[in-house]
Assembly symmetry: C2
Homo-oligomer: 194 residues x 2
């Protein structure tokens, strides 16, 4: 299985194209032929970098999770208060959505999970677990320091916020004038902010 560090320039272009396709049409919606057209290489050449479609799917999910994790760590260093940290978090989804109504890679793969290889599903679960842990920590600190207030536990609030943002992207896809993850997230966050 290919890991992140070993990606050659060509492999990176392939993974980039595959990620966009996953966000646009899902794992079951694209083929090696689609990637071939996007990167200007033949199908056989793609197989040289990724032996199977599952390998490619796993790599896309791993990279996405890794990049997302970097963004989460950056928020912690650049934003100090829990309410603003959660708004910055919602902005990550907003940015993705504003890019041609792309879905979250793992949101899309999660929807398709019943037809995916276990190796891909494992990466998707890792993404959600990582996100839930991060949000929970932020909310817990906010509740403790008094910048947030709620009768619910931090973990329950975290699953609520994550569900809300993933759902806002999904529902927003089928609307002519969606509010988007940022504004939808604010509706919920405004009930938590002191």
């Amino acid at each position: 299985m290919t890991t992140l560090q070993e990606l050659s320039p060509s492999a990176r272009r392939i993974a980039d194209a595959a990620q966009v396709l996953v966000q646009q049409v899902g794992y079951n919606g694209f083929s090696f032929e689609h990637i071939s057209k996007l990167v200007g290489m033949r199908k056989a050449s793609i197989h040289h970098h990724f032996a199977s479609k599952v390998d490619l799917g796993v790599t896309v999910a791993q990279r996405y999770t890794h990049q997302f994790n970097d963004a989460l760590r950056h928020i912690l260093t650049s934003v100090k208060l829990a309410p603003q940290r959660l708004q910055a978090y919602a902005d990550l989804f907003e940015t993705t959505f504003l890019n041609d109504h792309h879905l979250c890679v793992c949101g899309m793969l999660g929807a398709e999970s019943n037809s995916l290889d276990a190796a891909v599903n494992q990466e998707v679960r890792h993404f959600f677990q990582l996100n839930l842990a991060w949000i929970t920590d932020v909310i817990e600190e906010g509740l403790a320091s008094g910048s947030l207030k709620s009768p619910h536990s931090a973990l329950v609030l975290a699953e609520t916020l994550l569900s809300l943002l993933e759902g806002a992207m999904l529902v927003g896809r089928s609307m002519s004038a969606p509010l988007g993850p940022r504004r939808i997230g604010d509706v919920f966050l405004s009930s938590l902010i002191v």
Copy 2:
């Protein structure tokens, strides 16, 4: 294009099977062969009832929307207060999710929308529009009668609730112990209920 009234018993069994498959693996995740096995008929026989896969997809979305609409009207007649109406609404999603972690048909199709025929997408948009209008009406009545309270508009709250429930099903699929749409919905609704 086949419409709801004309469905023969065989066509109904095929549409039922197709609906389950959409909820499990998505439109791009199933084939006529899968349906063939589920209903015990050959692929050619399925084509006799549905000329194309798009026809089948449209019928599935139409029927689902129609059944959902019946459930929404039933809530209005059997439940009188806005808070309880919204909880009953969340229970519709909970029931679907508890059935083997099935997704909402139109939630799944919405995720795949970029690869679907326009005729299918139109039905998906109709489903969301119908739901948003229903929720908006319920919330508007609740705000007017004083059973609900919020600084946000009914329409914004409706999109928030719908996004939350769709997202709770999607995210819940990849979790070992998801809270589920009902409990997730309650977290948000509790901030609205007076």
